[in-house]
């Protein structure tokens, strides 16, 4: 295992930002998919693909 070769160029970190990007790419909506500043998240427009509402 220790000597198993790895392609370190492929090192990658996935965060919510990526998920938002993927979502925006496919959805094209103006949705605040993951609000950066608050736990309240809102959906401004729905385009079928985003149900990003989190109300507490």
């Amino acid at each position: 295992m220790v000597n198993q070769k790895m392609n370190l160029k492929n090192a990658r970190v996935i965060t919510n930002e990526e998920v938002v990007s993927v979502h925006k790419k496919s959805c094209e909506c103006d949705c605040a998919y993951a609000s950066e500043n608050d736990v309240q998240e809102k959906r401004i427009e729905n385009n079928g693909d985003c149900a990003c509402v989190q109300i507490n």
Binding site: K5, M6, L8, K9, I14, I44, A51, V53, Q54
Partner: protein, 465 residues
């Protein structure tokens, strides 16, 4: 792809070969499939998931090795790797807040910019839920009081630097006053526009009165809802009944179907009690199937005279684990991590469990102010006070009891997530504020499980790129 690349291009720090990357204290890691979950509880960036190549590099960080040392080890593993590849990976770690170089990001308590206002527009309700903390009467908030409250709140919030206000219409049952809600939405939007402050509205409802017509209006007016649903069929009906004892589930379900049909943004608020705890996994399945966002809340009963309906810690852990298993296997796309565990916020390190006294205000139907919706009867002032934000700050007993003053919380790695839980509940059950929540064991057991669900979500949807 373009957006993500742009973000990454902007985020480039100068890293030299002699720099030493370090890990944050209390950094939490766990293996999820072939990925490594990494979470820094003092960062607002949420969790990061590292693929196996990134995880290999991350594990080389020990606070002693320089960037060059790491590059040399990496070269042994992959002779084709360039220094720039290592630089890029470390940059990603840095901007995900999972490592630091010379300057550790401290816990920064930002002055709140977002004010939450609970506008209690009616005391009347069509239900008589057994755990409700509101004493039902036929009193309503008059338009005069409501307008005065909104006008004053917007002005005072602006003066104190708030940039955004969320008005939550509550009751009783807020939809009994639907025409007033619409009037106040228009009224407050107009004032907010004039004051250049962002405003949004949420209707808190039991869902019974959501007809097709109301759903269409809600959609048109871009209003959001939180609908209370505590279980399926009899489990909901055990606590949520009409005044004559008739069950309410089928009406709530119809209301929810109307919201879905007209594409109204809403979430389901689930209050977990001893009466519905065993049905929570099935309710989770039901909501997942319908793709309806939801949030779990634990009952916080402050009335010593009422029947105790809190679910035991053991049952909460047992049944929530079952729900989490479903979510882990099939996480929805939307970000729902902050709704999975009552009063636990994973993406906003904070010092107090809620915004009471700092960014949160309740207005009773008669214009009296309270620190929390659960203490509506304990007036801290009125909407006619000179400065409502000062009234809010001065009227709260618990705002200075931060988690760092609570024993044993101050030593806990999760302290900035739950902050010791609801202070009122803690006081009610333990007789003092400066200690841990009665739900502490639940939080400690389930926080790692919720992190794993979030990791799965990121893997499922973020790895598409």
């Amino acid at each position: 792809m373009v957006i993500a690349l742009a973000c990454k291009l902007i985020k480039q720090a100068m890293i030299s070969k002699s720099d030493i990357p370090r890990l944050y204290e209390n950094i939490y890691t766990d293996k999820v499939d072939d990925f490594l979950l990494v979470y820094n509880p003092v960062s607002k960036n949420g969790i990061s998931v590292l693929n196996k190549e990134a995880a290999f590099l991350f594990r080389l960080i020990d606070g002693k090795r320089t960037v060059d040392n790491i590059f040399c080890i990496a070269q042994k593993k992959d002779p084709d790797v360039h220094f720039l590849d290592i630089h890029k990976a470390l940059n990603e770690f840095l901007f995900s807040d999972i490592i630091f170089f010379n300057n550790k990001k401290g816990f920064i308590l930002q002055k709140p910019k977002h004010l939450g206002v609970w506008l209690h527009i009616t005391n009347q309700c069509n239900l008589r839920c057994t755990y409700c903390y509101v004493s039902k009467t036929s009193d309503h908030m008059s338009d005069e009081v409501a307008e005065k409250a909104i006008d004053k709140i917007i002005k005072d919030a602006k003066t104190h630097g708030f940039e955004r206000i969320t008005i939550k219409f509550s009751g009783g049952e807020s939809l009994l006053k639907f025409s007033q809600i619409l009037h106040l939405v228009y009224f407050s939007r107009r004032l907010a526009r004039r004051s250049k402050i962002e405003i949004e509205h949420v209707v808190l409802t039991n869902g019974i009165l959501i007809t097709k017509k109301i759903a269409q209006i809600l959609k048109r007016e871009k209003l959001r809802l939180a609908v209370s649903l505590d279980g399926l069929g009899k489990y909901h009906n055990r606590t949520r009944i009409f005044g004559n004892g008739t069950p309410s589930f089928k009406y709530v379900e119809q209301g929810i179907n109307n919201l879905v049909k007209y594409d109204v943004p809403f979430s389901v608020s689930i209050t977990i009690t001893s009466k519905n705890i065993e049905n929570i996994p099935n309710l989770t399945k039901y909501l997942l199937k319908k793709d309806i966002p939801f949030a779990f809340n634990f009952l916080r009963s402050l009335s010593p005279t009422k029947e105790r309906l809190e679910a035991s810690n053991a049952k909460l852990i047992h049944f929530l684990k079952k729900s989490y298993k479903m979510l882990y296997q099939n996480p929805p796309r939307y970000n729902f991590i902050n709704g999975l565990l009552d009063r636990v916020f994973f993406t906003k390190p904070h010092l107090c469990a809620c915004g009471t006294g700092m960014s949160y205000l309740t207005v009773n139907y008669n214009g009296h102010l309270a620190s929390c919706q659960m203490t509506l009867e304990k007036s801290i002032g009125t909407i006619y006070d000179r400065d409502l934000i000062k009234t809010m700050r001065n009227g709260c007993k618990t705002k200075d009891i931060t988690v760092n003053k609570k024993d044993p919380c101050k030593f806990c790695q999760w302290k900035y997530l739950c902050c010791g839980g609801c202070p009122l509940l803690t006081y009610e059950q333990k007789g003092r504020y400066a200690t841990n929540s009665p739900y502490c064991k639940v939080y400690k057991t389930l926080i790692p499980k919720v992190l794993r669900i979030e990791a799965k979500r990121l893997i499922k949807y973020g790895a598409e790129m």
